[in-house]
């Protein structure tokens, strides 16, 4: 029986030891409320501000632009709902534009806003067969009522990159003053240099646990000020953008994860890119297996496939039995594999999408892990798709 072959980093990355070490002092004993004035409060406050600077450097912004949130999902929701709600107060009509392949954190938030408010309209930009945004359609959608355009930096399921410069170029040029932009960089953060890749975007969402930090720790980063209300007002922490006592451990954990991730990034990306090439070649040789968006620019750690005539549920079950941890699309709230809206938007036939699988790698993935994965995956596919 193989060792644990963890190929689900994009779902959650293994917790880094340096993260644990950084968080530990803030997990027990007296942890002052950072809003207070006494010595313990000041100590806590200082830890947060130091964490804020590290996160700011990770994204390439001024520290005043970092808003700590309780998760990546909350960060995305704050961007969309916060911007839309402010916009509504000052405009008769509010438009929101998101891509068809956004994570549910963005899509569900956008849909909720459009269904809750009569004066909010949602437009969804379609994507091509690789999942890349249709720039012409985006251009046609922009108008003066637009409050925000949200396009993710790279897709969490397929790993496909979006043309960030081209997108922001369009958003800045179509309407006088430009249209504010938001990007869900949660999947991309482990692999790409955010200061470069998101340089032209106004709002950026990240979260800790995709970088080897804790869950319940994220940030909405404002590169440029965008009019935005708090969604959770509370005690007006985080300069009025996000109420609630800041979790010092979570903020410190996010910072430690960002720093470690950036330190490892290039080495990890180079190594995993070789593994990705090896996996793509090997998987392509298996009858019935197709590598998704093979020709597109993708995050180096992602390998997404479809297996014809087989259900993801069955592939995952058998892989799990052999110690391989992977996933398919997003899990819905029941825990069942949901059919992927991303693959649907890419025009992938439902029969193929039914057999979708995602393998994602990380810092500890080794060559022998990759070799084992190839062996086990081939065996599993052959079992479920016996040669005629």
């Amino acid at each position: 029986m193989s060792e644990n072959l963890y190929f689900d980093h994009a779902a959650s990355a293994p917790r880094r030891p340096e993260v644990l070490a950084a968080m530990e002092p803030w997990m027990s004993g007296v942890v002052g409320n950072p809003a207070g004035s006494h010595a313990d409060a000041r100590r806590a406050r200082r830890a947060i501000e130091e964490a804020r600077e590290v996160v700011a450097e990770f994204v390439g912004v001024d520290p005043t632009g970092v808003i700590f949130t309780g998760s990546g999902t909350e960060s995305c929701h704050l961007a969309l709902a916060g911007v839309v709600q402010r916009h509504r107060h000052e405009h008769e009509h509010t438009e929101l534009i998101v891509s068809a392949v956004e994570h549910h954190a963005v899509l569900a938030s956008a849909e909720l806003l459009a269904s809750t408010f009569d004066d909010v309209t949602l437009s969804i930009v379609k994507v091509d067969s690789d999942g890349v945004v249709d720039l012409d359609q985006l251009q046609g959608m922009l108008n003066e009522d637009c409050a925000l355009v949200s396009v993710m930096t790279a897709n969490n399921e397929t790993g496909v990159d979006q043309p960030m410069g081209a997108i922001s170029g369009i958003c800045n040029s179509m309407v006088p003053g430009g249209t504010p932009t938001h990007t869900d960089a949660i999947a991309a953060a482990a692999w790409q240099h955010l200061p470069t890749v998101t340089a032209t975007f106004d709002l950026i969402s990240i979260c800790a646990h995709k970088l080897g930090g804790p869950v319940n720790s994220g940030a909405l980063v404002m590169r440029n000020p965008v009019p935005m209300d708090a969604v959770m007002p509370g005690g007006a922490q985080e300069r009025g953008f996000r109420g609630g006592t800041i979790d010092v451990a979570a903020a410190v954990g996010l910072a430690a994860a960002c720093a470690a991730s950036e330190r490892d990034r290039i080495t990890m990306a180079d190594r995993c890119e070789e593994f990705q090439t090896q996996l793509v070649s090997a998987f392509s040789l298996i009858k019935g297996v197709a590598v998704t968006a093979r020709g597109a620019r993708r995050l180096p750690g992602h390998v997404h496939v479809t297996v014809e005539g087989v259900a993801s549920d069955e592939l995952l079950f058998l892989l799990d039995q052999e110690g391989v941890r992977a996933s398919a699309a997003a899990a819905c709230s029941s825990g069942a594999t949901a059919s992927s809206h991303v693959l649907q938007a890419m025009g992938i036939a439902p029969e193929l999408a039914r057999g979708a699988l995602r393998f994602t790698m990380g810092a500890e993935t080794s060559k022998s892990d990759v070799d084992e994965l190839i062996r086990i995956f081939a065996k599993t596919v052959h079992h479920l798709r016996p040669p005629a």
Binding site: D313, F317, S334
Partner: protein, 353 residues
């Protein structure tokens, strides 16, 4: 044995899983995700999946959720809607058992290396000689052999029904003993994809146009009421029908959607002496039953069985020993053996006349 237990989140399947674990089997639990929409029936909602998962955790079993929403839509929900549109009265739970729970799930279990599938149904597997049969559960009030009436011997030979020999009270007691939080969970009622709070009319109305119709009393010839949805009116129905001018109850005897007309009559005029079947729907547990064979027949989940003779000829039909209320076209009749009325012999669907 390596056994896959289908766990709905209800107390029956929870106990089934526990009993098999205690018997030393290698048990894995699976909950089927069938309906993607809202659900308050007590089966298959996210809350029910959580119950099943927690029970599996307490019992120390692996638990998986299998997504069959597409197949469920195509094989259960769409036919349900189509049948109602055509004036039939379908039984979606029977269709789900037939096509999903005891078909697709069984195939999957085999591919995944399981020796058998178990469920919490109140029914039993009986052997006569070396053949497998489905038999009633011991608790008359809860017997579910009716909804399993179409299962083939091939399926039965790979099916385990651990709680069929227990009463409901015994099942709940066992659940409590095992420490399962579902021990006093109410049984699920009605169809899992129709919200009780909204009802069938609301569900169907969201999928097809519904036809209002006049309710005509055959006895007097006059209109005695109206319905907003003829598609939901069932032959033999009394609920929602006004009494006739003579003060006697009226029952539905005919539904003509195209003419927007529902006919009702007095009970004695309604009674039939036979039920006619769709020939293609007939299934038999062992050798096909023959013209002239006597059977015990049941045509609702917990209805009282009646005796009759099977006849073939221009059409397959059951000639009843005593007149009975008509069974709506689309409904299933399950046959039990005359010499062993707990044993399922076969099933058939009542044809539209």
């Amino acid at each position: 044995m390596k056994i896959l237990v289908a766990m709905s989140g209800g107390v029956d399947s929870s106990v089934a899983a526990g009993l098999l674990r205690d018997a030393g089997h290698d048990v894995v639990g699976a909950t089927l995700k069938l309906w993607g929409g809202a659900s308050d029936s007590g089966c298959c909602s996210v809350a029910d999946v959580d119950d099943a998962r927690r029970v599996a955790q307490v019992l120390g079993l692996d638990h998986h959720v299998f997504n069959y929403t597409e197949e469920f839509e195509h094989k259960v929900v769409e036919p349900f809607v189509r049948d109602h549109a055509a004036g039939l009265t379908p039984n979606p739970c029977i269709e789900c058992n037939r096509h999903i729970k005891f078909d697709l799930l069984f195939e999957r279990a085999e591919r995944l290396g399981f020796d058998a599938v178990a469920t919490g149904h109140h029914a039993q597997i009986a052997m006569r000689g070396d053949r497998y049969f489905l038999a009633r559960g011991v608790d008359d009030a809860k017997d579910q052999s009716y909804v399993l009436g179409y299962l083939t011997e091939s399926t039965l030979s790979r099916l385990v029904l651990p709680i069929g020999g227990m009463t409901k009270d015994q099942v709940r007691a066992e659940a409590e003993r095992l420490g399962l939080r579902t021990w006093n969970k109410p049984d699920s009622q009605d169809v899992c994809f129709i919200e009780a709070s909204k009802g069938r009319e609301s569900f169907l109305g969201s999928r097809i146009p519904l036809t209002p119709a006049d309710i005509i009393d055959v006895v007097s010839g006059s209109k005695i009421g109206e319905t907003s949805a003829a598609e939901l009116v069932t032959i033999g129905q009394r609920r929602g029908i006004n009494s006739g001018g003579d003060g006697e109850r009226r029952f539905v005897t005919r539904v003509d959607i195209a003419s927007r007309r529902v006919e009702v009559d007095r009970l004695e005029n309604l009674l039939v002496t036979q039920h006619v079947f769709n020939a293609s729907s007939l299934t038999f547990a062992r050798e096909p039953l023959r013209d002239g064979d006597r059977v015990v027949a049941q045509w609702s989940a917990h209805g009282r069985p009646k005796t009759g003779v099977l006849r073939s000829g221009t059409s397959w039909r059951l000639v009843l020993d005593e007149p009975a209320r008509p069974v709506a076209p689309g409904q299933t009749v399950v046959f039990y053996a005359l010499d062993d009325p707990n044993l399922v012999e076969g099933a058939a669907v009542v044809a539209a006349s």
